[in-house]
């Protein structure tokens, strides 16, 4: 309704002068009565101006009135029906009829822009049959609803000649975002009797095609804008368009077209925001896809990634992703983390859409990190210190450290350690077994707990502790032939040798080292012994590191078990001062002397007279006398006594 309202500004002064407007075109005069009554009509009379006495002749056979019902009104409007319905915002014939009947103002203005409307609404009578260049006087008599004339009349004169409207001036054409603006100027209405211009038509040409009119009804001449008019052509795509403008009057006559002016549209409309983003999570990669940009001028996409929904986004592509391939495979720096992606569409003009809604991805990580290198082990105080070069993997969480002996490996670290050093201090921090050889294995662990292959190194804990002494050391005289030295194994497992030393022999100067035995030996026959000597044996265990245990000691008195031969030819003779006993020498290497025994009876008990063996071959019994019985026994170094010599009677 706004355009009609604006037109009213143009029409109002004219109405103040006379609502009767006569428009001559060809051999026809259009008789407009702009304030035709809604419930009545008017009758048209005409007479030539010359001679002045010529009578008025009735031209309209019946009163010109508005259509009597909605159907007739719609039919009479014809092609202008949609325009009329739009103008008064009617949705059907009945509403259109009601509104035009009740809104006299709208009805009058509509009559000015559409001849069909003017006729249908009872504002126009078309008087054909006039003579060109002749002058006529018209009289309009208002009638009631029943067609009876009232006393109200209007008169006006017209010279029958075609007056073509003036063409618009100052036409300008400028391109904008998917639309083209056309502006022009037209003189403000001054009340000239031949100025019937009510609006303008705009014509467009594309390429070499013909010009066609864009305006179904004229663009109304609204002088409120001071003679400036505009038209926006939004029915354009890319390309260059040419425009011309003409002025149109009440009779539908058009002025000549203005000169052709061209312009082209500018694309400032960004593409639609990409939609339907979807992801496929892979092993360290994410495939992101989305719907094809629907715009025909879409050029490509940018994709951006963030580590959090509200974190800054980083553009991933270096050049546009082609419009026809809306997919991106992103190799993420670390699996097991959530990432957010968004996409921006770009058109061929460079307009970029707003970012799409972000889509979340959670790629898996099944790729182990790169193993650490340069594992080095050192030991001190029964502990192993391990150092290694870090893994270059970016998503590293830490390292697992394993401890092993032989083929078995036991992980020492419950959680990955972040440092590149670790100290294995043994169970309960008591240190590792001295002499043991241990393997340390280190593997890298990433943020998804994938574990790299391990790097291993081994080291021995120095054995600085002596073994426990051997037990059950025993030295035994075996029939006077040798000393059997035997022992039990030490509890220490790393014993490699047993060392046996001896003291007590005539040749022993201090301690004599006898022998070093392998750990498997448990006894030794010592034959380098002399009867009658006491020997002390010391046995120590020696481990692989050369540590020597405390000594275990045992001693043995090595004795001969075979007595020497009995003395022969023993004889006793009473002498002054006692009894002298004599005997023959006994030949024995280990003889140390002789013991002399006496008894009062030949078969009685003999009592030893010598406190220690005598080395001579005679003995004087100072308390003896004749009649006593004597016997002699040889004694060796082992204390063995020989059998008694034959009994000798003192005489």
């Amino acid at each position: 309704m706004r355009p009609l309202l604006l037109l009213a500004l143009l029409a109002a002064p004219a109405w103040g002068q006379s609502p009767l407007r006569l428009v001559a075109t060809g051999d026809t005069v259009l008789v407009y009565v702009l304030d035709a009554p809604a419930t009545g009509g008017f009758i048209v009379y005409r007479r030539p101006v010359t001679p002045p006495t010529a009578p008025f002749a009735k031209r309209s056979p019946a009163a010109v009135m508005m259509a009597s019902n909605p159907a007739v009104l719609s039919g009479a409007l014809g092609a202008d029906l949609p325009m009329a319905m739009r103008a008064v915002r009617a949705v059907d014939d009945a509403e259109l009829f009601r509104r035009l009947r009740s809104d006299h103002f709208a009805s009058g203005v509509l009559a000015m822009v559409s001849r069909n409307a003017a006729i249908a609404l009872g504002h126009l009578y078309v008087d054909a049959g006039v003579t060109r260049n002749a002058d006529y006087e018209y009289r309009v008599v208002y009638t009631q609803g029943d067609g009876k004339e009232t006393g109200r009349t209007l008169t006006a004169r017209v010279h029958v000649t075609d007056v073509v409207p003036l063409a618009p001036t100052g036409v300008q054409v400028s391109g904008a975002d998917h639309e083209i603006h056309v502006t022009w100027h037209y003189p403000v209405y001054q009340g000239a009797p031949t100025d019937f211009t009510v609006g303008f038509h705009v014509y467009r040409t594309q390429g070499t095609g013909p010009a066609h009119r864009l305006t179904a009804t004229p663009i109304l001449r609204n002088d409120a804008n001071g003679g400036g008019f505009s038209f926006v052509d939004r029915d354009v795509s890319g390309g260059t368009y040419s425009y011309q403008v003409s002025a149109a009057d009440l009779a539908g006559r058009e002025s000549g077209l203005t000169s052709i002016l061209s312009s082209h549209t500018v694309d400032r409309t960004p593409p639609a925001i990409p939609t339907d983003l979807a992801v496929r999570n892979g092993d360290g990669v994410v495939d992101i896809t989305w719907r094809l940009a629907p715009e025909l001028d879409a050029l490509g996409y940018h994709i951006e990634r963030a580590t959090g929904l509200h974190q800054p986004y980083t553009r991933l592509d270096r050049s546009l992703i082609p419009a026809r391939r809306p997919i991106w495979t992103d190799t993420v720096p670390g699996g097991g983390h959530q990432y957010f992606y968004r996409v921006i569409a770009v058109d061929s003009t460079g307009n970029a859409s707003a970012p799409s809604n972000p889509v979340a991805a959670l790629p898996s990580d099944k790729t182990p990190p790169i193993a650490p290198t340069a594992l080095a082990l050192t030991t001190a105080q029964h502990r192993i210190a391990a150092h290694w070069a870090p893994s270059p993997s970016k998503d590293l969480r830490g390292y697992y450290v394993y401890h092993g002996e032989g083929a078995s490996r036991v992980r020492l670290t419950g959680r990955p350690v972040r440092t590149t050093a670790f100290v294995d201090s043994g169970a309960a921090d008591k240190g590792l077994n001295p002499g043991g050889r241990y393997v340390i294995r280190v593997s890298a662990v990433d943020s998804s707990y994938n574990e790299s292959p391990g790097v291993e190194a081994s080291i021995a804990i120095p054995d600085d502790q002596p073994p426990t002494p051997p037990s059950a050391l025993s030295s035994t005289n075996v029939e006077g032939r040798y000393v059997l030295v035997s022992w039990s194994a030490t509890a220490s497992r790393d014993v490699q040798w047993y060392a046996l030393t001896r003291t007590g022999g005539a040749a022993d100067t201090g301690t004599r080292a006898l022998h070093r035995f392998p750990a498997s030996v448990r006894e030794w026959h010592d034959t380098l012994v002399a009867h009658g000597r006491r020997y002390v044996y010391h046995l120590t265990a020696i481990d692989s590191a050369g540590n020597v245990s405390a000594a275990t000691t045992d001693s043995v008195l090595f004795l001969e078990v075979v007595p020497p031969p009995q003395p022969r030819a023993a004889g006793a003779r009473a002498v002054t001062g006692g009894v002298e006993v004599r005997w023959e020498r006994v030949v024995s290497l280990e003889l140390t002397g002789y013991n002399v025994y006496r008894s009062s009876l030949p078969t009685g008990v003999y009592r030893r007279l010598t406190r220690a063996p005598v080395s001579l071959l005679s003995f004087t019994d100072s308390t003896g006398h004749a009649g006593l019985f004597y016997t002699v026994r040889a004694v060796d170094r082992s204390g063995n006594e020989s059998a008694a010599s034959p009994v000798a009677v003192a005489r």
């Binding site: 039919g75 092609a79 949609p82 915002r89 029915d235 979807a278 025909l296 391939r325």
Partner: protein, 196 residues
Amino acid sequence: MIHSLLLAVLLLQDSSSLALRRRVWGDLAALEQVRRADTTSVRLLADVRPALDSMVFATSWGGAELDQLRLAFPGSPLLTRYAARRDEREGLTDAALGEIEQLVRLSPDDLELQRTRGRLLEKLNRFKEALDAYARALDLSPEDDSSFRALQRLSEREGALTLLLDQIRRLRIRLPASAILRDHEVEVSARLGASR
């Protein structure tokens, strides 16, 4: 007598044409008024379409009347669509394509428009662009068999089955549970294998 009868038939026809014309104009005017009221719009659209079909495609004067309607309702997508159909029927494929592309700019998500665009481009032997149009149609409705068949046929002809396979695999990311897409992938893979 016969003359009178013929005159009566002609008058009846003329009366019928007038009624049809009035109905179309009235419905379009009403549609123009309620363009924003969806439910009413749908109802009116359902009313006007049969009348437009009859007028444009079943009368001798409908084509010309359509031009008048387009002048009266400039920019009407409905009328542009009918104009494209009319032009295609009359062999004015270039003009029909221009109208369809104008509509695509207004409604780029319209599956039918993209399919029609593909068909028109194919008629004009602009096969690469036709492939693009069918690809857009399939992208809009990944399980639409018609778009798939058209795209497959043209891809095979243009040796672009690999691109089609790529597109189906992309769509499967969007619709991983789609059995139709899975079947399409198998089918295209088989054809691709056979063509090698």
